[in-house]
Symmetry: C2
Subunit: 177 residues, 2 copies
């Protein structure tokens, strides 16, 4: 099917009532907003061991990480974290409390990292992982972690023990407006 193809958001200007330049389509007025993205992930535990994935892709290929990735449209952050655990480590988990929020403003990322309980020891590398391992605290390859946020997440997991820090907000009744 052939459709009329407009110029798309190709003109950079500050829209009325705004204070930052955005790209606007000169044909239809569509405004393209770029905003920070949310990474969701989890420190997943099974009988005192922690689930780590060896990255099969850039950046930090070959280094170790907790399962984490971009939140997708329509998901809650807990659903997204569970999906990432499945996609990267083929493990099923119950997502627990939010361990913390790790911000990386210079790349416009907000990481929301959960504590999770594995439903069994089953795990296997997903398409973005070369290998997955369940390791004790002593076996964590501290010198080969993929990102500073991985160490931060693991240390928060350790330090907070079973203390309740934060639980994801219960949904309010949704009354579409």
């Amino acid at each position: 099917m052939e459709e009329k193809q407009g110029a798309g958001p190709s003109v950079e200007t500050i829209p009325d009532g705004d204070n930052r330049p955005r790209r606007i389509c000169p044909d239809c007025g569509y405004i393209e907003y770029h905003n920070p993205k949310i990474i969701v992930g989890a420190v997943c535990a099974w009988e005192g061991r922690i689930l780590l994935c060896q990255r099969a892709i850039a950046p930090s290929q070959g280094l170790w990480t907790i399962p984490a990735g971009f939140l997708e449209l329509g998901e809650t952050t807990a659903q997204g974290a569970a999906r990432e655990v499945w996609e990267e480590a083929e493990a099923r988990v119950d997502i627990g409390e939010l361990l913390g929020v790790y911000e990386i403003p210079h790349i416009s990322q907000v990481n929301m990292i959960y504590r999770a309980r594995m439903l069994s020891a089953a795990c296997a590398p997903g398409i973005e992982s070369e290998a997955v391992r369940l390791v004790t605290w002593e076996e964590i390859p501290w010198g080969q972690l993929a990102f500073p946020s991985v160490r931060w997440s693991l240390e928060r997991f350790r330090d907070q023990g079973a203390a309740r820090v934060y639980a994801a907000a219960p949904m309010a009744p949704l009354t579409p407006r």
Copy 2:
């Protein structure tokens, strides 16, 4: 300056290694990702009163809200919350603890709401506000709040008193990779 104008991200397909359709530019391979957006806001207090804004724009024009809006590129969530307070209510604040995360997955929004202390009673309507008010708890117009997240935020503010629930993550040393 005239530039070569490609088709832009106009073809919907599932990229290699992905599992969701994205829009891709057939000329350059650019992949356009749409992801959930972060709303940052704050319950701002001054001497026992709370700062509310009457919305001058849709949605919920004429109803009352706490200052909140989309996080912009390059900001921390606390910086974004302080910016929104300034833009909507022309008040200066110290951003405190994260009161909570309120998720609205059906519109792909994650609200991160902070507790904030106003530096003075000074406030005035910004461009998106018809009016701003500093109200006591009893004066809050519960029947005229703009969104369910506003009530939720106010109630979390009240219920948590001065308890420390969550502090935004200190930045780890940033080592560009």
